[in-house]
């Protein structure tokens, strides 16, 4: 399945012949029918609902089918503060989703703990336990920002290769699709971060 020459394809299109590759067709279908998990955590979830509601209408991007079950969902929008009490359930939900699966960290809290970073029960970013594809800053991000993240994700899906050495991660058999669920400890979650996924940023000074 090789790439089609771009010039040849536009030439053919001009004459009414639509040529595509398996990969493009497959990605085109995937990117326009992303089903998010219907799952809100905090304030950002309200903006997520607003994105799905009348004015912003995520249906224009094929993402309106919010699924309450992780088995049917492609995308997890981590919308809101992840607390330490909630983190194991989120990892479990992520593990229950079928591959290929994507994660949007919506809002400052899901990225790093945000304004609640100093809290004893607040996880300092969901990327401590699961990989994140798109981060959107904001507290909460506007619906337009979520739509932007959605389009970024579509772009990412569109660029994923099905074959070859640089094929998408989820197609590699050795790639993990389940991550260890943290346990409730006496003082903190155990472990406090999954070191295979998360490398803390180094303190850098200029």
């Amino acid at each position: 399945m090789s790439e089609i020459d771009e010039k040849l394809r536009t030439e053919l299109q001009r004459q009414g012949i639509w040529v595509t590759s398996m990969q493009e067709l497959y990605n085109w279908g995937r990117k326009n029918s992303i089903w998010p998990l219907q799952f809100g955590l905090a304030c950002c979830a309200i903006e997520m609902i607003a994105t799905a509601a009348s004015r912003y209408d995520i249906a224009r991007f094929g993402g309106e089918v919010f699924r309450p079950s992780p088995r049917q969902a492609d995308l997890m929008i981590v919308a809101g503060t992840v607390t330490k009490k909630m983190a194991p359930q989120i990892v479990r939900l992520y593990n229950q989703m079928a591959d290929p699966k994507y994660v949007i960290a919506m809002g400052a809290c899901a990225i790093s703990g945000g304004p609640f970073k100093q809290g004893y029960n607040v996880l300092k970013g969901i990327d401590r336990y699961i990989p994140v594809d798109v981060y959107i800053p904001g507290c909460p991000p506007r619906p337009e920002a979520l739509l932007h993240a959605f389009m970024e994700l579509q772009r990412k899906i569109d660029g994923q290769k099905l074959t070859g050495t640089d094929k998408a991660e989820f197609l590699k058999p050795e790639q993990l699709s389940e991550f260890p669920v943290p346990k409730f400890g006496e003082h903190d979650l155990e472990p406090p971060a999954n070191r295979d996924v998360f490398q803390p940023p180094k303190l850098e000074r200029v």
Partner: protein, 388 residues
């Protein structure tokens, strides 16, 4: 199926008489924290006999983000944006409750225009909160989408007003000790008036859509009854208390802000069931529209911030104060202890939706499991406030 049309009376069935075929056998179900109808990350451990709820234990803490401890570590003003994120539907009323408590603590006067602005914004908040709640409640009953779309269409209009005034849709951070942060222009007031004038039309349309709907009546009447005595003892406040027929509204009792200047009525229920709770919201919106009309007519130009208040390096005297307002969910209070320092020694939020959940089990026992969602929906909880 018989073709005879049932009367509404015949449809009122007392659910306790329903018998289960699995008598004595209990099935434990954990509903939540990921559940489409728990309004966030709320969890209930339910013991079911067949479909009937025999035991229900709420589990909290999935959104416990340490609001109170963070409040003790930041300055008085620094907590103001955090209050936005308590009940994230109603940032304006949260701001007001906190500002009111600090104003009590330090005896701060609020200028007249700021008082009017506060009333206007609080009532607009009540409108959008109640409209969204009715939409969510219908979603819980299975009317996916449509009522919520109607409600969010109206909500967006009010959020536009908030945004043009404060710069943020949801997290307004608008009030300050002794007033408000920015002044509303004449154009803003005109735009608000336009939205308020059109709101009753939406209420008519929305009421027609849901309040007379036979399915809604069948799902809500006689479901989750709450007696007035239990409600008072359990500290239930807000529309939920008034649905039981108890006339207690902090706007009337305390008369905070400029509420004594307005003419408005307090809707009261009779049965204390889910339908009454639903109706309370619908009727309160009408009264809010009345308050808004009066406030928008009475507001006069003037200062919006008490100029004597120190914004920076604000240190109230040693002591404590408890201030409360009637938030859309119920009585929202802030309890502050000052040790004379720049940040409060103790910062406590009295969360109405948390305390309103105290009697959730009492309301749900004997009902089928599908009713639990409707009853929970009618309590009107927001997890940011329940768990803080």
């Amino acid at each position: 199926m018989s073709a005879t049309v049932q009367t509404l009376e015949a449809m009122e069935r007392p659910p306790v008489t329903m018998t289960s075929r699995l008598e004595g056998e209990l099935l434990e179900v954990s509903m939540g924290p990921q559940h489409p109808s728990t309004h966030g990350v709320f969890r209930m451990n339910v013991a079911l006999e067949g479909e009937i709820v025999r035991k229900l234990k709420p589990v909290f803490g999935y959104l416990h983000r340490n609001h109170e401890q963070i409040g003790e570590h930041t300055t008085y003003l620094g907590s103001m944006p955090y209050t936005d994120r308590l009940d994230y539907f109603c940032s304006m009323t949260n701001n007001w409750a906190y500002a009111l408590s600090v104003e009590k603590l330090a005896a701060i006067e609020v200028p007249e225009r700021a008082q009017y602005l506060r009333v206007i914004l609080a009532e607009l908040t009540r409108l959008q909160n109640h409209a969204s709640l009715l939409g969510f409640l219908l979603s819980d009953m299975g009317a996916w989408g449509t009522p919520l779309m109607y409600a969010f269409r109206e909500r967006e209009k009010i959020l536009d007003l908030f945004e043009s005034l404060s710069g943020a849709r949801m997290m307004c951070d608008y009030m300050r000790f002794g007033g408000c942060r920015v002044d509303a222009s004449d154009e803003w007031l005109a735009a608000a008036k336009k939205i308020v004038d059109r709101f009753p039309k939406f209420l008519d349309e929305f009421g027609e859509l849901i309040l007379g709907n036979e399915i809604v009546i069948a799902r809500t009447q006689n479901v989750g009854r709450l007696s007035a005595d239990l409600a008072v003892s359990a500290g239930i406040t807000g529309p939920m208390l008034r649905a039981c027929g108890v006339n207690y509204d902090v706007r009337k009792v305390d008369g905070y802000g400029f509420y004594p200047r307005f003419k408005f009525r307090i809707p009261l229920g009779e049965h204390g069931d889910t339908y009454d709770r639903l109706m309370m919201r619908a009727l309160e919106m009408r009264e809010s529209v009345e308050i808004l009309k009066q406030a928008l007519a009475l507001i006069q130009p003037g200062p919006i911030l008490n100029s004597k208040v120190k914004i920076r390096a604000f240190r109230p005297p040693v002591g404590e104060a408890y201030g409360r307002i009637e938030a859309p969910k119920g009585e929202l209070g802030f309890y502050l202890i000052s040790d004379g320092g720049p940040n409060p020694y103790r910062y406590r939020v009295r969360p109405p939706s948390f305390i309103n959940l105290t009697i959730l089990e009492d309301m749900c026992l004997g009902h089928v499991v599908a009713d639990v969602m409707v009853i929970l929906g009618s309590v009107d909880i927001v997890m940011g406030e329940v768990d803080r």
